[in-house]
């Protein structure tokens, strides 16, 4: 895989002597992981069925995920179990933000950037199709995939809105406040395992995204209940899109960063980057690199609204 010089220098700063391990991880295909859709089937039953076709491996300490080995390209998506919504093809790291959110049955949840619905369907399953989720996506093309995945997975507690995230929150906050909010923002995707994200990378794009991310996360806080939880996540490794956004929220709003546990390897977030110094509590957020779990890279923060 080819990287731009500037990008690689930044990654070297972040990873130090782990850089070669990270690079060689990106040369390998990502293992196929699926999330069991517990709305429709138990892990035991699904595993039994899939073992008739493929080699299936469990993940220690994480019940909902399975690794599928020895499958042909396209086989998983075209399987009867997928069409019937028994599972969702999802990377292991992308299953983590809903775990940090910990949605409960009776809660009102906002998923501000929901398409294509991997995390929304996971949240619905964690809520046993109870409570309510408002899942928003501004783009028409992506709404189609979101709705199709919600239907396939048997999600019945969700309302899908098609609006710009900022505009939606400004309308909604006049009347509705949420217990939990997931802000899985649009990002540079440098945590992905595909070359396209690295080809597109440039510092101006990162700066532009960082400003959009700050806007989305801060407006989302305005419709969160007092004591409510907001989880901010990206599949980016760029500090400007991650720690800098959380630092901005901590310094400008009445929120506190909370610790949380994940069933996969993660690291503490950084508190310094180039000339920037972040609030010390930013360390409580989590960074996940691609080579940590042979999955995608991710950044996750859990914030509690104080007032």
């Amino acid at each position: 895989m080819k990287f731009k010089k500037d990008f690689l220098e930044r990654m070297e700063k972040l990873l130090g002597n782990e850089i070669n391990e990270w690079k060689s991880c990106l040369e390998k295909p990502i293992p196929k992981t699926i999330r069991v859709n517990t709305i429709k089937i138990s892990k035991e039953n699904l595993k039994k069925r899939l073992e008739r076709k493929w080699k299936v491996k469990e993940i220690k300490g994480f019940e909902q995920a399975l690794i599928i080995k020895e499958h042909l390209p396209g086989e998983l998506g075209n399987s009867i179990e997928h069409k019937l919504g028994y599972f969702y093809v999802q990377t292991l790291s992308s299953m983590m933000p809903p775990l940090a959110l910990e949605p409960k049955e009776k809660e009102l949840v906002l998923d501000l950037c929901a398409a294509p619905g991997a995390k929304t369907t996971q949240i619905a399953a964690m809520m046993n199709n109870k409570g309510t989720i408002i899942a928003n996506e501004p783009k028409f093309k992506r709404i189609k995939a979101l709705v199709s995945n919600l239907e396939r997975c048997g999600v019945t507690n969700t309302i899908v809105t098609k609006m710009d995230g900022v505009k939606l929150v400004k309308k909604i906050r006049k009347k509705i406040r949420f217990d939990k909010i997931l802000v899985d923002v649009p990002c540079s995707a440098t945590g992905s395992r595909e070359g396209s994200a690295f080809k597109m990378w440039n510092l101006n794009m990162i700066k532009g995204l960082s400003s959009l991310q700050k806007k989305l996360a801060s407006v989302a806080l305005s419709c969160l209940k007092e004591n409510g939880i907001l989880v901010y996540s990206t599949c980016s490794l760029e500090p400007e899109e991650n720690e800098a956004v959380i630092d901005f929220l901590v310094k400008n709003f009445d929120v506190r960063i909370e610790e949380f546990k994940l069933p996969i390897k993660s690291r503490k977030a950084i508190t310094e980057w180039q000339s920037m110094k972040f609030d010390k509590t930013v360390r409580k957020c989590k960074r996940i690199y691609q080579h940590d779990n042979d999955s995608e890279g991710f950044f996750i923060a859990r914030l509690r609204k104080i007032k």
Partner: protein, 149 residues
């Protein structure tokens, strides 16, 4: 010319059809267009729901339950799959029939006329319309299995 069905009549048709299928649902039915029915289990109050509908661009609510056709409810593929496990208005099909059904073919079967949930072993494979001599395929294109050689 087709007569427009009133909302109260639609609710009655849905409730009676679900009773016939043997499906018990607790939630809100939402009607759109002439025949589409959706089903929502969310806990949002009616007041908040109305606020959302009048202030935001709501794309869909809940799951597509099906369509009102011939004064009956034809369940959608996904709704049948979700709610049909305990249903009684069911036609069980064998392995060979299931393969054809999922490829989009009708099934030659003498059954009572009407809509039925189609089941193969533990899998619910949507809803089909029986004409008396055959069951007309109800598997949407995106759910069909690609025929392998």
């Amino acid at each position: 010319m087709k007569r427009k069905i009133k909302q109260a009549e639609k609710i009655k048709i849905v409730e009676e059809s679900l009773k016939e299928y043997g499906i018990k649902l607790q939630g809100i039915f939402i009607f759109s267009g002439k025949e589409k029915v959706r089903f929502f289990t969310g806990s949002l109050t009616k007041e908040d729901l109305n606020f959302l509908l009048s202030n935001c661009k709501v794309e869909v609510i809940g799951i597509g339950l099906g369509k009102i056709q011939e004064k009956s409810l034809r369940l959608s593929f996904d709704a049948a799959n979700l709610f049909g496990k305990e249903a009684k208005k069911v036609i069980n099909i064998n392995e060979e029939e299931a393969k054809k059904w999922l490829q989009g073919f009708d099934i030659e079967r003498k059954e009572q006329k009407g809509f039925f949930i189609i089941k193969h072993k533990e899998d619910i494979l949507g809803c089909g319309k029986s004409t008396g001599n055959k069951i007309l395929n109800g598997v949407p294109k995106e759910k069909r299995m690609v025929k392998t050689k």
